[in-house]
């Protein structure tokens, strides 16, 4: 292939998606920043530069509480999901045999049916008239209060929403992991704990971090689950953003909250990506070259 032709192909294949993302992904984020420095009065935008929104965010304790609550929720949900996904993914890869494909695709069914529909299904389980309390009532027991409109309900819902994603990520990482390395360590006399802590875990750490982040970032900005299941003390940050853009019409403040959320996500992403080697995540299989 000639050099000029190669450059043309590069332009065609790499630059078209890049331009698309710059216009419709990066530019909107910049617009969000711009909006966050404007004001909204009576559902109208006032185009005057001001940092009022950030001052409001810093001085109003409610937003800080929402944020801290979201942060803890996101940490708990992601850590729990990672801890649970490891045995599941490991079992599928090692003992799944010819059912590997079925088991991994079955994870995709709940994931693809969408947040709203899954919340509806979950409400059928957890709500006051849901299955869990229905069974308890039939058995003559008292209904469980903590799964109705509480932060525990939000926790269960968020694990339900993002567990398939984490399992899939860890699964892909383990699938591309060469288990002969573990056998080699075993032959050299390492015990199972050492094999895990010195070979399997570190070599799949990148994939695990990606899974953690793919759960952490959406949970941090969760808006639908807390609104529907969280109850009066369950307002989370994402839900508050949605309210600024919805009922209250204070878009500029919502934009400022969005910018804070975005910057914080990027910070977490930056810190964690120090530990990520993309070639080892198992996502694209580039590690196998």
């Amino acid at each position: 292939m000639s050099e000029a032709e190669n450059r043309l192909n590069r332009r065609l294949f790499l630059h078209i998606p890049t331009v698309f993302l710059v216009i419709f992904f990066v530019l909107p984020l910049i617009a969000l920043v711009v909006l966050s420095f404007w004001q909204t009065e009576n559902y109208k935008i006032v185009r005057e530069w001001t940092a009022m929104n950030y001052v409001t965010l810093a001085t109003e304790p409610a937003y800080f509480i929402f944020f801290i609550r979201s942060l803890f929720m996101a940490i708990f949900v992601s850590v729990f999901s990672v801890v649970v996904s490891w045995p599941i993914a490991f079992f599928i890869v090692r003992h799944g045999g010819r059912y590997k494909l079925i088991l991994s695709l079955l994870l995709a069914v709940p994931f693809l049916s969408g947040e709203v529909l899954r919340l509806i299904a979950l409400q059928g389980m957890l709500g006051p008239t849901g299955l869990v309390n229905g069974v308890l009532l039939k058995l003559g027991a008292a209904p469980l209060r903590f799964i109705m409109y509480s932060n525990s309900a939000t926790f269960i819902a968020l694990v339900y929403l993002y567990l398939p994603m984490v399992v899939t990520t860890v699964y892909l990482s383990l699938l591309n992991f060469d288990f002969r390395l573990a056998s080699a360590a075993s032959a050299c006399g390492a015990n199972r704990f050492r094999i895990f802590s010195e070979i399997v875990w570190p070599l799949n750490l990148s994939g695990t971090i990606v899974g953690f982040l793919l759960c952490f970032i959406p949970t941090l900005s969760a808006a639908l689950a807390p609104r529907f299941l969280g109850g009066p003390n369950g307002v989370l940050y994402g839900m508050s953003i949605a309210q600024q853009f919805g009922e209250s019409g204070t878009w500029a403040l919502g934009a400022a909250m969005g910018v804070v959320l975005f910057l914080f996500s990027m910070l977490v992403l930056g810190v964690f990506s120090l530990g990520i080697d993309l070639r080892r995540t198992g996502f694209t299989g580039m590690g196998r070259q």
Binding site: L14, P28, L35, L117, I241, A255
Partner: protein
């Protein structure tokens, strides 16, 4: 030695038990609402019965029909647009990426790490508030495509990385135009990845609420109507709608399963 073997078996059973519990946790709500939608007593539909009342009410409700049609249009356009862009990106990274391949790959996967609500509100800020454009289907399709693009890119990259690019060059050397090389050599070998990407993008954008919600204004989509109805309490119709979508998703995944299996039988190398 014996102790270690039994220990290993114990670990295996423990992991298996966690797997079973997790799958039960994931599927119980789905199966429960399927029974609930078929029952005249949706709160506690056991023993199961078969009552199609909620499906008939759903079918005759025009609100859901319009919303479903809108969702279908958005999902179709989004899946095509994001798959085309994802395909370009995949080929670009795998074939023409060179030393910057990883950099491009990280950028193309970027939207995965920005939550849907941020994508929604930032696109809304750009279109409505900066350019003062009215929300319409096109803006919703584009914003959904940004989100689905990353999924498409990763799916196709995972399935295409073993593709031997020399085959395209061979076809061109034999006198085929690049387009013909694509249709007759590349497409038959890579269609499973393309189909997988189409299906996943379709289903994701059919069911996604966050993105469309901020970009469509008053135009109803299926998830937004479901969300609206949810605020007035869950009704059996919603269970019926949910069950129909779950069955459709299940069918799509079954298609993916057979595609992936036929792909395995005929390795690309």
């Amino acid at each position: 030695m014996y102790a270690q073997a039994s220990n290993e078996r114990l670990t295996k059973w423990l992991m298996g038990a966690i797997l079973v519990i997790a799958y039960a946790f994931l599927y119980m709500p789905i199966i429960h609402i399927l029974f609930a939608s078929l029952s005249s007593r949706p709160n506690f539909p056991y023993p199961p019965e078969f009552d199609y009342g909620s499906y008939i009410r759903l079918y005759t409700n025009t609100v859901y029909q319009d919303a479903f049609l809108n969702s279908l249009i958005i999902a179709t356009c989004t899946s095509i647009l994001s798959t085309v862009l994802g395909f370009l990106a995949t080929v670009g990274v795998l074939r023409f990426g060179g030393r910057k391949a990883l950099l491009y790959a990280a950028f193309f996967a970027g939207p995965l790490f920005v939550s849907e609500i941020l994508l929604g509100i930032s696109s809304m800020s750009l279109y409505y508030l900066v350019f003062e454009l009215q929300g319409n289907m096109v803006t919703a399709i584009i914003a959904n495509s940004v989100h689905c693009f990353s999924f498409c890119f990763l799916i196709m990259a995972a399935l295409l990385y073993r593709y031997d690019w020399r085959m395209n060059e061979a076809a061109v050397v034999c006198g085929a135009s690049p387009a013909r090389a694509f249709y007759e050599v590349m497409l038959p070998l890579t269609w499973s990845g393309i189909l997988g990407s189409l299906i996943v993008a379709f289903v994701l954008s059919l069911n996604g609420l966050d993105i469309s919600f901020y970009l469509l204004g008053a135009t109803p989509t299926m998830p937004s109507v479901a969300w609206g109805a949810l605020r007035y309490g869950v009704k059996p119709e919603l269970y019926a709608l949910s069950s129909i979508i779950n069955i459709l998703v299940f069918a799509a995944i079954t298609v993916l399963y057979f595609v992936a299996r036929s792909d395995k039988k005929r390795p690309m190398e």
